[in-house]
Each structure stands twice: as C-alpha cells, then as structure tokens.
Amino acid sequence: MSLAASLRYYWNVQLVGRAYLRWQRWQAERHPRVPRKWRTDILAPPLRIGARTKELIAMHYLEGRYVNGHRPVAWVTSGGPVEILQALGFYVLYPENHGALCGTRRVVVDLSTEAENAGYSRDICSYARTDIGAMLSGKTPVGKLPKPDLLLACTNICQTVLFWYRVLAHHFDVPLVLIDTPFVYTDAPEHAVEYVKRQLEDSIPVAERVAGRRLNYRKLKEVVKLSKDASELWLEIMGRGKHHPAPISVFDQFIHMAPIVEMRGKKVTVDFYAAMLKEVDERIAKGIGAVKNERKRLLWDNLPIWYRLRYLSEYLGEHGVAVVASTYTNAWGELAPLIDPERPIESMARTYIYPILNRGTGYKLETMKQMIEDFQLDGVILHSDRSCKPYSIGQVDQRNLLIREYGIPALLLEADHDDPRAFAEEQVASRLAAFVEMLYDGAE
C-alpha cells in the first residue's frame, strides 16, 4: 500500500467525492423530482430512497476508482462469502453487479463486442462477456474499475463463475480462491457442509496474506452480524409485497438490491435498508401501491432483464398488473435466519450452500408455490434466461406444473439478462399481451 495512493484516495473519495455525493443526495431529497418520462398515471412515484441508492452505488464505484494502492481489492461472485474479506478490510467488487449496471446503462453490446472480438463466444454468460470486455478494453460506465489483488469465486450461483474467474485469474495473475459449494439436489449432506466450511477456513490465510494483516475474529462476528441484519431487513422489505396493493414492485427491488449484493457486512447497508423499510411502511400506511390500479399480482422468476426494466414495468402497470415478488431478489434474504454471528464460519458454510440457485429444480418449484400462496399471486413470469442455464433449466417443467397441477397461469419469456440482442421486442410484446389477456380471462 502506498502513501501517495492513500492521500489520493482520501482527497478524491473521502473529502471531495463523499461531500459532493452527499450534497447531490440532499438536493434530490429536498426537491424530489419525478423523472420526466415516468408514467405517474400508472405507477407510484419512484421511492425517495432512490437518492440514497444512487449515492451508495456512486460512492462504491468512486472508491473503486481510487482504491488500488490504498486498500486490498477483491473481486467476488455475487453469492460469495464476503464477510471474511470485509473483516480483513478488502474493497470488494462484484463483477456481476457491474455487468447489471452496464445492462441498465445499455452499454453491454459495446463491451460484449470487445470480448467477442477477442474470441469469446456469444454463447457464454452475458455478464461474463460484459466484464471481460470491460477488463480487456478498460471501458466502463463507472469510470474505472480497480485491479483485483484477490479473486473469490463461489460456485453457489453457477459453475460459470468458476470458468469466468479462471479467465480473470489468468489475465490479472492474482490468486483465485475457490469456494466450491456442492449442488443441493434434495438436502445438503453433512460432508458437503463440512467441505464448504473447510474451504472457508483455508481461504483465510490466503486472504490474510494478500491483505497483509491477520483476521480479527471479533471483527468477523461484527461483520457477520451486519450481514444478517441487512439480509433480515431486505427480507422484511420484500415481505411487505404481501400487502394489497403492494407498496413496491420487483422492479423497485431490482434497483434497490445492489447494496445487499455488494455491500453486505457494512453498517451503511443496514441503515440503508432500515430507511427503505420505513419508507415502504409509510407507503402502506398511505395505501400507496407501486402500481396505481393493482388488479393482478405476479411472481417473477430468474434474473431481471436489466435493459428493459422500465418497459416491462410500464407495460404490465398499464394493465393493472403488479409484479410483487421474485425468486431472485428473495435469494438475498431467505437465508438470513441461517446466519449465526456467534458461529461465523460454520453458519456461513451452511448459509452459502443453500441459495436457491444451488438447489434442485423441485425446490425452486416449491418456493414458487409458497410465494404464490404467501403473496396471493395470480400468475408467474418465468424469464428463460439464455445466459443463466442453472436458473433456467427446469423452467419448462415448472411452468407446465404450475399451469396443469396448480392452475396458475405461467409464462415462459425468452430473453437474456444483459444482452439486448437476445430480446425480441415484438415477440415479447405479443407474448405478454396474450398472457395479460389470459390473466383477466382467468383461463389458461
């Protein structure tokens, strides 16, 4: 770590950047403005917390811009056990989140083309293509990404991350820590949990070496506690979708989930979600629904279509359809009860093996059924995501069973979470139209 880098970091991030972003947030909070194109006739105004989300995300990437040389940097998969790294003082970057951000900013085709020109196939995950493109070209909508000192890939979301992170390890020539989480077809056997625990333990000396300091277990417990608190708040926020009308939609959740994914284990994240919960409760008290004329309620399965969030939200909103729950956003909250700050490593092993993406197709169907019941839903949109095979395999059967055995209308929507080239606008529009019509007919 260098003094010059630290001075640069403090000046640009902690003094100038922080003050500027805070001022920007205050301005936005004092004079809340609804974006010009926002459909206030069908949707509730954006959540006020949005100004804070923007500040948090901007601050996170601003830190990333100046962090090299000041703090160690780790790139981590979105389901990765980040608490050990947070406790060791790492700046943590999630390439998938960066990929999602590129999706919302509509720069994926440009970045992906950089990767494709270097020989990467369009058949690999679009997050990976986007980030590899950013890595090779240096282009990014956030200005600059920090170089990693350590990579951590946890296979609990897919095996793709292992293949992807091997590419990163090869490019940056830095250690790659693998936390391999055996897939849970039915229940995780004890030897699988033990295996994950052992890998977590083994990752500590590697991370310590890179960080140049020893792990303080008291600090780790604090971080794990903060992770649990934030996850519980997130779970509560999503649970508020059970109200009629639902105060927030999954499109709101998609936008505001960034902190729970990339800032777990921080006090600022807990404060953020506490404030968000308060605002959501205010909406409930005032009877405000995310969709003004909520008549039908849906479940969203799989990743968002990042580059068409507004289109989908408006199209469905126009028809009085609110998408109020999602198996995807639920994944960052449902495991909160498993986290035990007093037994950090052991409980992390159990928590990180059980995300929905690491579980069988039958479990996912059961989760959907439970959510349909809990949230009193009228149908399901299953996003068949070309770039996410583990989430998508099984959806054909899940859809069929939802319709045939449980009488729940369900639509399989073909797209890609990040690459708009796999999104057939007209086809999606006609399928959505037919689905909405079916919802109101109450027939299949």
Binding site: Y120, R166, L178, H191, Y195, G360, K389, P390, G394
Partner: protein, 360 residues
C-alpha cells in the same frame, strides 16, 4: 480389424450373468465402485441420431446437444435396459439434467447424482471420497450387497489395469494398424465394455502394432468433449490428417493416474482429482495450455483442432487464452462448433481440410 462387441450385446450378456447396468452421464465417475457391485457402467455421451424433440419438451434450445440428446434418448426408451442412472456433476447443464430427472422426469430407474469438486486440494479428495461413500450406501440399499474393502480394491485395480492399457494405446498410437475412426472406436469402447474385455481387445490391437511408427498423415491433436458425430474422424483422415493425441473429455482427459491410497474410496477420489487437466475440474488455463503444448511436443502434433459442442460454456471460456498460448508456442489451431445430433456440415469438412493444408 478388431471385432468390438456391440453396446446392447454387452449389456445383455452382463445382465444375463446376474449383473446390473448403469447409464452414466459425462464425465468422471468411479467405475471401480460400480463394478464392485456387479454393475456395468455404460456411458451416455448424447448419443447422436435421436429424436431431440423429446428433450426439447423439458429443455430450452440453448442447452447443449449432449444434454438434449441424453434426455431424448432416455425418453425414447434408449435406456430401458439400464437399472440405474448416474449423473456426475460436470457443468450447469448436466447438473440441471440430474435435477429435472429427479424432480420432474422421474424415470423408472433410480437416479444418483454425484458432485465432483472443482479443485485439486486435499479437501477436494476428502470430499469426493465421502461422496463416493454416499454412493456406495445408495448402491448397497438397492442391491442389498455390501462389497468389502478388498472386493472394492480388486475392482479398482482392474479398472486401473484397463486404464494402463488405454494409456499404452495412446503411447503407441502411431504404431497401431488403426485409422482415426477405428482407434477411437477402440478407445471409446471403454465407455461400455467391462475392464477385462477392454484389456483383451486393447492388447490384441497392441500385439498387431508395427515395429516402427508410421510417418504418414499430418499429425494433429484433437481437443473438446466428444468426437461426435464420428464422421469428423473420417474427415480428418480424408484430409490426410492423423489424430496423434487428444484432450477430449471422453478420452484423453480420463487417462487417470494410479491411485495411491489403500482406502478404496480415497483411491478412486485421488485418481479423479489428480487426473489430467480438465476445465470441468477447474484446472487453471495456463496449466491446460502447457499440457496441450507438451502433448503436441511429445506426439509431434503440428496443430490443434478444438472440436466443441455448441453452448458448452466450460470449453468456450478457455478457448481465447488457450489459442493465444498455443500461437505463442508456434502451434496453429482451429475451432469448430458442432451439434452432436446434426450430420457433419460440409463447411466443417472444408475448414478441417483447409486447416490441415495450412499446417502441412
């Protein structure tokens, strides 16, 4: 010309002798464990030439043809003679297949998944050994038979002997009187023949080996998952190429080293975990590149054909870096993507021919 028994006859004979047959999906699994239970593993790499619409009723079109075809094969009765289905975890798509078999398709046969660790660390060996132990318990439950450690080790050593002979076939590849297709028919008969039958066949081929290695044909190395449709091997032959080595998941990536442990479960786990470089087991890219370069150096291969199944993410991620390393080492390469259910397109044949002309 070697007379290789047919898959169906082999299964029938094995069952008539009182054994069971397990359909095994790619890639790595404990052959010795199955054989200790008198179960014959018969591998399912697709296969090509099935009506894929049956798989399409459960899977999206962006799932690879190996998985599509395997499910279609099962649904059209191709696995009716088998008693067990074993699904080793190799990638997200095979993981998904295992999961929908258990949860939705529910075939007549019991389905057992096994998870293969992605590292080469001591904990990976320990975990895999315990995973095999769990499989042992499952097999004991359905067969009512609990082989002793000694019986297990006997079966494992028999498999190791077969793998030694397999390695010899590769070692003497250019002295064998076998063309590309016949060589791979023999090598791939290991996918369904009992070890003892395979050893006898392989030794017969080795006995017919010429004293001096043949110098005909342009030597190439084949990398990928599986050489299907096998017409690709004829296409290489017709373009005057000879496959002198491979890095195929169904062949060269399973030239496992001898086990060391006297504990049968650990021994099987060690063999797989410390096997040749393989992307699905998480081998670093540089190590894979060095392995390919070394393989080419040893066998005199002048170029590498990456013959990959469309949508195979594990392979696709490595290709750009692997090809760069090979280029730096002076080894030209070409990539070809196929759907194993389709006939070999003429375009592919033209590319192979052009590539071989270039490296000649």
């Amino acid at each position: 010309m070697l007379s290789i028994p047919r898959r169906t006859e082999t299964c029938r004979e094995f069952k008539e002798a009182g054994g069971l047959v397990a359909a095994v999906l790619p890639i790595h699994y404990p052959r010795g464990l199955l054989r200790a239970f008198h179960i014959l593993p018969v591998e399912v790499w697709g296969p090509p030439k099935v009506d894929v619409s049956y798989g399409g009723a459960h899977l999206q079109p962006y799932i690879c043809s190996i998985v599509h075809n395997a499910l279609s094969f099962l649904k059209t009765g191709g696995l009716d003679e088998t008693d067990i289905i074993l699904v080793p975890h190799a990638c997200d798509s095979l993981q998904g297949l295992g999961s929908i078999l258990i949860d939705f398709v529910k075939p007549r046969q019991p389905v057992f998944p096994i998870y293969l660790p992605r590292g080469q660390r001591p904990e990976d060996v320990d975990f895999l050994a315990r995973e095999f132990h769990a499989l042992y318990d499952d097999l004991a439950r359905i067969t009512g038979w609990r082989p002793t450690d000694e019986e297990m080790l006997d079966a494992i050593r028999r498999e190791e002997a077969a793998d030694r002979v397999l390695a010899e076939l590769y070692h003497h590849r250019r002295r064998l009187a076998l063309n590309n297709r016949d060589f791979y028919r023999l090598v791939r008969s290991r996918e369904f023949l009992p070890a003892e039958t395979f050893i006898a066949l392989a030794q017969e081929a080795l006995a017919r080996a010429t004293a001096e290695p043949r110098r005909d044909g342009i030597p190439v190395l084949l990398s990928g998952i599986v050489p299907e449709p096998m017409d690709v091997l004829d296409a290489i032959q017709e373009a005057d190429g000879v496959v002198v080595a491979d890095d195929l998941a169904c062949c060269g990536r399973r030239l496992y080293p001898e086990g060391r442990s006297e504990d049968p479960f650990r021994r099987m786990a060690e063999r797989i975990v410390y096997g040749p470089p393989d992307v699905t087991r998480g081998t670093p890219i540089r190590e894979r590149a060095e392995h390919l370069i070394e393989l080419a150096r040893k066998t005199g291969a002048r170029g590498i054909i990456f013959y990959d199944v469309k949508f195979c993410e594990p392979e696709l991620f490595d290709l750009p870096n692997l090809r760069n390393h090979l280029k730096e080492a002076g080894l030209p390469s070409v990539t070809i993507e196929v759907d194993i259910g389709d006939p070999l397109p003429h375009q592919t044949i033209t590319r192979i021919t052009a590539f071989l002309e270039v490296i000649e």
